[in-house]
Symmetry: C2
């Protein structure tokens, strides 16, 4: 973690640079996967699962029996923790289910908007040593609350053809309608194109490696919506003299352990705070199992002293971090100045891992500067908002003449005529 003291403002953009992702030429690889799945359907999915995950499957779909047995395999302690998180995530996401008022824009002209669930959605959960069941909570709960009818989940099996029980338990608890043992680009292709077993969905959610990312891009080009553009995870911490350096260091490390391409940025108005936090980072790093990953991430990372907290916020707004931690006692006073961030953690007790698991907010957030123009996952991500309008005879009489004039000015005479006919008809009533 490199330290910078009062860097000149024209160097800020360099300090905001994110680790460059290798732009691999995966287009052909992924196109081939889509092509195979298109032609050979489930057979292709089985074969690719054999190839990449080493699993010989009889069935892509997880059976009810497997799901039932999963529940027995995980501790009551973990179940209770998942239930607590679920309850908080539900409570927060429910608050986003807001019915909007009908508006009479002109007498006789009523307009309103209604949230209607996206019927079929697909969730993707990567494999690997640890089961990312928390992401199932973050994607499954809002999809269920939104009212999506089909909520399918794809995740790669281990080489025995099994899915981690924590994944199965959580998927069942949030209400996933089907679970499939398929991962990687082939899972995304399956959900995009549909096969005999896997339904074609309208929107795909979830994290993944570069193959999954590229496959989601391809899905988007084919008309299937995706949650948001991908990028490496990141945190920016603004710490003042009232922070607790050990807490700050722990938060930086919990971001750094995500992956070697993670980035952590620490800003403070005091150099001594940077020093204390960095010393704590060194200290805590020693005992971390994922020490090597965290260390690599710290190489991409910066500790920067700026002359005021206001400047730290300006820097943060320009960086647009996925996670923004305000490590200070009086954070409320500066909340209004925050312009760009995925999720904000206020004060010394609001650690990023609270939002990652259980505070109630969503952990699927815009990274890579996308917090400037994208929102994190929410109920909104699982609905489309349809507008309605109802004009009475009086309504069309009130706004019809204006429409006629505007349509004529745009040289759209059939548009005008649709109004003229109605107005004439009403004259004759």
């Amino acid at each position: 973690m490199k330290k910078y003291i009062q860097p000149d403002k024209n160097t800020w953009s360099t300090l905001m640079e994110r680790p460059q992702l290798e732009k691999n030429q995966l287009d052909n690889v992924i196109q081939n996967v889509f092509q195979e799945v298109k032609i050979n359907g489930d057979q292709a999915l089985m074969e690719l699962t054999q190839k990449f995950d080493g699993a010989d499957l009889n069935d892509l779909e997880v059976s009810m029996d497997e799901i039932e047995r999963a529940s027995e395999k995980i501790s009551e302690e973990l179940k209770a923790a998942i239930q607590l998180a679920k309850s908080n995530i539900e409570a927060f996401h429910k608050s986003q289910l807001i019915e909007e008022p009908k508006v009479e824009t002109t007498k006789g002209v009523q307009c309103w908007r209604k949230s209607i669930p996206i019927e079929k959605v697909g969730l993707y959960i990567p494999g690997g040593s640890a089961p990312l069941f928390s992401t199932i909570l973050m994607l499954g709960i809002p999809s269920k609350l939104a009212g999506c009818k089909e909520i399918i989940l794809c995740t790669p099996p281990n080489n025995n053809g099994e899915i981690n029980p924590a994944i199965l338990y959580t998927a069942k608890e949030v209400g996933c309608t089907k679970i499939y043992k398929v991962g990687g680009a082939q899972a995304i292709a399956g959900m995009t194109l549909g096969t005999e077993i896997i339904p074609k969905v309208s929107k795909i959610f979830g994290p993944g490696n570069q193959y999954v990312t590229k496959a989601k891009e391809m899905a988007q080009q084919m008309g299937t919506a995706i949650d948001m553009p991908a990028g490496p995870s990141e945190v920016l911490v603004i710490a003042d003299a009232t922070c607790n350096p050990a807490f700050v260091a722990a938060d930086l490390l919990s971001q750094a352990e995500h992956g070697a391409d993670s980035q952590v940025i620490l800003l403070s108005d005091k150099e001594s705070i940077l020093d204390q936090c960095m010393q704590q980072v060194e200290e805590q790093l020693k005992s971390l199992p994922r020490k090597e990953i965290a260390q690599k991430a710290l190489e991409n990372s910066r500790a920067i002293q700026l002359d005021t907290i206001a400047n730290c916020i300006e820097f943060s707004n320009a960086y647009a971090p996925e996670h923004l931690i305000l490590a200070m006692e009086e954070a409320d006073a500066i909340l209004d100045s925050i312009q760009n961030a995925g999720s904000v953690f206020i004060g010394n007790y609001s650690c990023e891992s609270a939002g990652d698991y259980a505070s109630g907010t969503n952990h699927t957030l815009p990274t890579n500067g996308f917090a400037k123009n994208y929102s994190g996952v929410s109920i909104d991500s699982f609905v489309k908002k349809v507008t309605f309008q109802k004009l009475s005879a009086e309504g069309i009489q009130n706004i019809g003449p204006a429409i006629e004039i505007m349509a004529e000015a745009e040289e759209l005479f059939a548009h005008k005529n649709a109004v003229t006919l109605r107005l004439k008809n009403l004259e004759n009533v």
Copy 2:
């Protein structure tokens, strides 16, 4: 317009086929435009404007003087019509500015979400014989209400280097901060990359031809958000015996005149209604200035009798039309069964042109089946929703143990440690 009587359900998907867009290989063309703009900036924009629009410009930016003079050039009648539309669009979009409640998910854990405007947005308005000022209302009004700081507008000049006064007047009225004389892919490249004159924006909105569409796709791949994927415009009308066939025909034609690739679908439970509407279409078509365009669009179009209105709705939900008109007296009863549509027009007086111009709803809507998974433009399109969480000491004590268990199960020990340190610290208080 071809008629189908009670087509078998397994032929529906064929009847839902949209006109195939030519998939031109524009990638190289557009990449070159981006490259030129990247290297030569405004000089490239000037040259491309000379090349494609035949205009020799001294300045890309429209001057205050040009804007002032525009107002004098358009009729008071048109100004009044624009003002009425503006007032309705404002009233409806204001209703979307909803502050969400703070939620205490667990005692001591507060979560909330705040809409923060996207700072810089770019609106694109195509050129052509008619000035599409209505789209400026639809994009400019919500961007202003949302609170975007910079709202720039790009539109191609005519070969005298002028912009239509109705465009300039409307842009000023809605609060565009700058207007630039540049169109096509080069305008999109300018807003994506930024030049000395044109600011780099975070999100680009607006319609355009295949070059603009491809350039917006490229912008999206480069991290600039776009309003929604493009496609040809379309309407689906469900008419029962209580419709007015002349009104239905006028609505079908007002969609058909948009472009030769437009599609109109008419559904009814009565063949006689189809016949009456189609006869009216033939009749009204004769006197339309854009008759030839409409006629071409009608070749892509279908009139289909299904046995019940419920089946018509099922068909419509599967087609997911951009515009859905319910041409019947008792439309309210079926509103709840509508699943997929961009905007819905209820009853015999709610013509599509009302929503195109002045009812208050937005006319930038998902086409091409995207109404299944995308919403039309709204206030939401100009903000990102940022989540906040604030945990008190009690809050972290309440949910901390659950986080520790979950983080451990995901093998993320630094995540766990961020909580453990805080809990230990509180034990010692």
